[in-house]
């Protein structure tokens, strides 16, 4: 959020902070919890299934910290150690364009790890944010991939332990099972939906039938009684219930009543 000079407030936020907030909020709204905050140099989020690291490198870091070879090596080592650490399923790296492009080109060469790193590179020019927006909207897909990968990995481990001799690979079977489960869940939802609608219909029918038992005995009772009093049986409606002879309070001392009642009489 920024305010121009006229507003009297200094520039209060830098771009990477906004991107970080967007990622953080998006993760939290997707059931992730923050396990480690940024004081460690990077944050860790987990949804109970996968763990995701969010590392932010600002323009200032790039200019100050990467001024020496040692710092560059430290940074590369940190990224590499996060990549090889199997307790993390994905790394989201927010960094300036130039650094992002360089890391991206290098990481593409390392098979097995290129999918584990997701780079959101931003431009120094704050107006150029189309790519960032696109990257932000796509990173949820990458999270899904990480989840699937983790599940497949678990299943592979399970298969090895069981030392199954079946011809059909367990992973494939599991995938099929998952698809089936998803279909069943969807069907369940639809059934629940139908049930709700069915219950509504039943409740409406009950409301109607509620009056019937009262009417029938009353009618029988009525037929027994000699026709001393001829009463016209008119069903009570909402209007009849509400009828009352007094006018509502907003009529009281209202000059408009007189003004309006002379409409058509005035010239």
């Amino acid at each position: 959020m920024e305010l121009g000079e006229d507003g009297g407030m200094a520039r209060v936020e830098v771009k990477e902070e906004t991107i970080y907030k967007k990622i953080r909020n998006s993760l939290i709204s997707n059931n992730f919890k923050e396990q480690r905050d940024r004081s460690y140099g990077y944050s860790v989020f987990s949804d109970g299934k996968i763990r995701v690291v969010v590392k932010v490198v600002s323009l200032a870091d790039l200019l100050d910290d990467f001024g020496t070879k040692e710092n560059i090596l430290n940074f590369i080592f940190e990224i590499f150690s996060l990549l090889v650490d199997e307790s993390y399923d994905g790394i989201i790296l927010v960094c300036p364009n130039s650094l992002g492009e360089w890391i991206g080109s290098k990481i593409d060469l390392i098979q097995g790890y290129n999918k584990k790193l997701y780079i959101i590179a931003y431009d120094r020019n704050h107006e150029v944010n189309v790519e960032v927006e696109a990257a932000l909207s796509l990173f949820k897909d990458r999270i899904k991939e990480w989840r699937t990968k983790k599940e497949l990995k678990k299943q592979e481990v399970g298969t090895k332990i069981k030392e199954s001799t079946e011809v059909v690979p367990k992973v494939y079977e599991q995938k099929k099972n998952d698809e089936l489960k998803a279909t069943i869940t969807e069907l369940n939802l639809r059934i629940r939906n139908l049930e709700e609608k069915y219950n509504y219909i039943v409740s409406k029918l009950e409301q109607i039938s509620y009056g019937v038992p009262k009417i029938v005995p009353a009618a029988q009772e009525f037929s027994k009684v000699e026709k001393e009093e001829e009463v016209e049986a008119v069903p009570k409606t909402k209007q009849d219930e509400k009828s009352s002879s007094s006018l509502p309070s907003f009529f009281e001392n209202n000059p408009w009543v007189e003004i309006l009642s002379s409409r058509g009489k005035e010239k």
């Binding site: 507003g7 936020e13 967007k22 069903p235 409606t237 909402k238 209007q239 509400k242 509502p248 409409r263």
Partner: protein, 423 residues
Amino acid sequence: MSEDYKRKYVFAADYGTSDFKYGPISLGETPQVMQNRGYFPDKNSVIAQLMSSTSKEVVVGEEVPLYLESKEDLAQRLIYPMKNGIIEKNDERSWKVVKEITKLALNEFKPADPNFQGFYLVASLSSIAPRYMYENLFDIFKEIDGEEKLIKMATIISQPLAVAIAHKVPTCVVVESGHGNTQICPISRYPIKNAIVALNRGGGDANALMAEILKDLGYSDLASEEAVVRMIKEKIGLIPRDLDQAIKFSKENPELVRVNFKLPGTRLVVDFGKDSWVRFLLGEYVFDPNNEIFMSYFSRGMPRPKDVKAGDIYFYGMIDFGEAILQAVERCPIELQPHLYKQILLSGGNFEWNVPQELFGVAVDSKIKLKSLLNKHGIENVNITTSESPKFSVWRGSIIYGYAVPESYSWNWERMEGWLGLR
């Protein structure tokens, strides 16, 4: 027809943009409310076949949620007929919704009384509704009466007139600000039609600004949820007495202005933190969108309220509320003008803003804000009141109108007043 009959069978129908308020005089103080919308079910769908004993083309009222299908269908099938108080002449689906809603409402109160000959129906429309809307609505009433003998006589009045009637003020300026637009209507026993000023700005524009603010704070996901955006705006939005001073105050007293919003039923907390000063932008934008600070939002793609023409009415986009009132009043006779300034009546949900005790003075209510805007334009001695029950005042005014106006006063297309006999 006797007064006793009218005492029972005057029926008012207020066609608001989002809600339809309806009911007979015998309801007392408050009307029934249903959403002003209709759903056109896919007749081939299983749900439609299950639900519809009488294959309805359009479903209205409380049954609507039961027919709703996929989200994708909503835009096409769920119709809110009133767009800023206006229905396009040839928008057949919207007119069908209006007919069904009216029919449902009248049937709900159809009495069993054998002496019942139909309701005296008073419909109320936006003051900017063009003549064809009156014609179409009367045609609908004729059709309904032809089918079910529910309407004996009908009339249509403008919503600001109904508000003035409900508030017992015969000479006033009614400022009605809703979701999509704002109408400023001077009234002196009759609505002064040539003096009506309309603004293409309402609560919806403050929602758009709220969405931009949320995006800037990193809550893009929430920004696309219209209901959530509106909820947050209503909870945190403030009207500044003076925007620049309010921002300065926020900078000096960040803890007083700071606000969090926890989304009900979720774990999500929107923390405005050091950016809590943006609360003041929301109220300011509704009353006066000309502050330079809003230009940065326009330049980033937030739509600027445009000047548009709908029917015969010109809607201004960017003029402040003070200037709009000024323009409306100055179109009236000079002798009348001071009397109009003495009774300005604010109506509609767009005037309901919180004023936290600890921020009183920096944040103000709609009345004080408007007064200061008028003062800026050199207008003193103004008296501004807000509607006590803005949601129901149109219905109440319509009921009084229906009861008081004599049956012999026939509909007049020049005055747009009177009773139209339907039989």
